[in-house]
């Protein structure tokens, strides 16, 4: 594989950049693989990469219905963080933070990781107490957390509304200085390029039609490009998990919902942190191009539409303007939607299933992008070793029936309001 560097850039400049190698191939599916990963998004590509890199399993195919990186890894608001209270979430996410920190070097691909910090705003004394508790929990797990008072927040984000007569005055906030953002498409492409170079077949425009399961064991899949055999199959299809589960006669603790995001016209640098509104659901950061990147609530009812409705967008942006009034002056550049696996406790599932050789990676709710490397790493381990790693032991499928829920927000089973 061609190494990307300043030298290769200069060298290729002499040939008008017409002689770069393709970043990944476009192979036809073979008859059989050791492992098939269904879903060529961030998590699927990362899983294939770590299967090859950490476990020397390279006879792997990624089966993607559309094109790689066309789902939620290309539709998110690029936020990376590990500001969780519960141990299972915190340790998993912080493990991921360490992978993020060296990802550009590992993948030889600039993912533009930008640890600019995230601030969760608090709007009452009670919320400050909750944040103090969460911050302490984070620090006990080795994650950086700083509790900010009103004046400290004002120093960092003076453009927020600090006037006295607002409905939700800013009391302070909880900051994770090491959180940040990354270039989402580059993450997908970086993993794809490395996985391909180690022998993984990335098969696009190939839809899974069914599964070949006999005697409780998975034998292969049926696709729009023919049958493919494999003893181990991993599902990484957030948003479409319920559709594939139906083909397996499985009913999962997941509903599919739509989440919108939007960007404004680009403006000069104004915001160098990720900021979330504490009295509702709204988050904002500024991209390198200058666009304000914003998101918030789900549309609020089961949806596979991949496009959003205006009432929700209006609601979300109303919160944004309440937090940062200058946003009302900006023109909207783009809005889009992606479909989420909303799990019943707001936490993901990375586990084996009752079918031997079938592994499940789903239920990422709002937090799929930041989990990409840790999800791929632990899912690869789970598939390769046929047992869960201690990092994803809390993300079991049977935690719902056994009562070991991982309910970070304590919102219960109404996925559409979480």
């Amino acid at each position: 594989m061609q190494k990307y560097s300043i030298f290769s850039l200069v060298k290729n400049a002499f040939s008008n950049h017409e002689k770069w190698d393709l970043a990944w191939k476009d192979p036809s599916p073979k008859k059989e693989y050791d492992v098939i990963i269904i879903g060529g998004g961030g998590h699927g590509l990362a899983t294939a990469y770590y299967l090859a890199k950490e476990h020397n399993i390279t006879n792997v195919a990624i089966i993607e219905k559309g094109w790689i990186g066309g789902g939620n890894v290309g539709r998110n608001t690029t936020i990376i963080r590990s500001n969780y209270m519960h141990d299972d979430n915190a340790l998993f996410s912080e493990f991921g933070m360490n992978l993020w920190r060296r990802m550009s070097q590992d993948l030889n691909y600039n993912v533009m990781f930008s640890p600019r910090g995230i601030i969760n705003l608090a709007h009452s004394d009670a919320q400050m107490n909750t944040y103090a508790r969460r911050g302490n929990s984070m620090r006990l797990n080795g994650i950086d957390a700083v509790l900010l008072n009103r004046e400290q927040v004002k120093e960092i984000i003076p453009m927020a509304d600090f006037s006295d007569n607002v409905r939700f005055p800013i009391f302070g906030g909880l900051m994770q200085p090491s959180a940040g953002t990354a270039r989402h498409d580059a993450v997908a492409w970086g993993y794809a390029r490395q996985a391909d170079s180690m022998g993984v077949d990335i098969i696009q425009n190939c839809e899974v039609i069914g599964f070949d399961v006999s005697a409780g064991k998975v034998k292969g899949i049926r696709t729009s490009r023919g049958d493919i055999k494999a003893k181990k199959i991993g599902l990484c299809v957030a948003g479409s998990t319920n559709i594939l589960a139906e083909k397996l006669n499985m009913t999962l603790p997941i509903e599919t919902h739509l989440l919108q995001a939007c960007v404004s016209e680009p403006v000069k640098p104004v915001l160098d942190k990720v900021v979330t509104f504490g009295a509702g659901h709204f988050y904002i950061s500024q991209s390198d191009k200058g666009e304000m990147v914003m998101g918030g609530d789900l549309d609020g009812y089961n949806s596979y539409a991949q496009r959003g409705n205006l009432p929700t967008l209006q609601h979300v942006l109303t919160e944004g303007i309440a937090m940062m009034p200058f946003l009302s002056k900006l023109k909207m550049l783009r809005t889009w939607g992606g479909i989420m696996d909303m799990s019943m406790d707001g936490s993901p599932i990375i586990d084996k299933t009752h079918i031997e050789g079938l592994y499940l990676n789903c239920g990422w709710c709002y937090g799929g992008f930041k989990a990409t490397p840790a999800s791929g790493w632990t899912f690869a381990h789970t598939i390769a070793q046929d047992r869960v790693h201690e990092l994803n032991a809390g993300y079991s499928l049977n935690r719902f029936s056994t009562g070991y829920l991982l309910d970070e927000k304590g919102l219960g089973t109404k996925t559409w309001i979480s």
Binding site: E255, G300, T413
Partner: protein, 90 residues
């Protein structure tokens, strides 16, 4: 924007309604022996189909009645609405 025909009030905009999830889920019968699997299915497991989906909505800013709506989860087309006590199969 969805427009939902409330069986009590007529056609109204989605803004007046709040969502209540899958309407086909039935609570295990009272007084009967119920397995863990049945409780698990009732509380947590959902089909969440792509296509026709019967779901509960509440006409919160209207008559405040709960209703059942048959909607396509991919196209958002609404086929049918029922009062809460009407059976889906009818």
């Amino acid at each position: 924007m969805l427009y939902i025909k409330c069986p009590h009030c007529g056609m109204r905009s989605q803004n007046e309604f709040s969502y209540g999830g899958d309407a086909s889920i039935k609570r295990p019968e009272l007084g009967k022996e119920t397995s863990n699997k049945e409780w698990d299915d009732f509380v947590y497991n959902r089909k969440s189909p792509r296509g026709k989906h019967w779901e509960l909505w509440q006409h919160l800013s209207g008559c405040r009645q709960w209703i059942k709506v048959e909607r396509d989860t991919a196209t958002h087309e609404i086929f049918n609405t029922l009062k809460a006590n009407e059976d889906i199969s009818t």
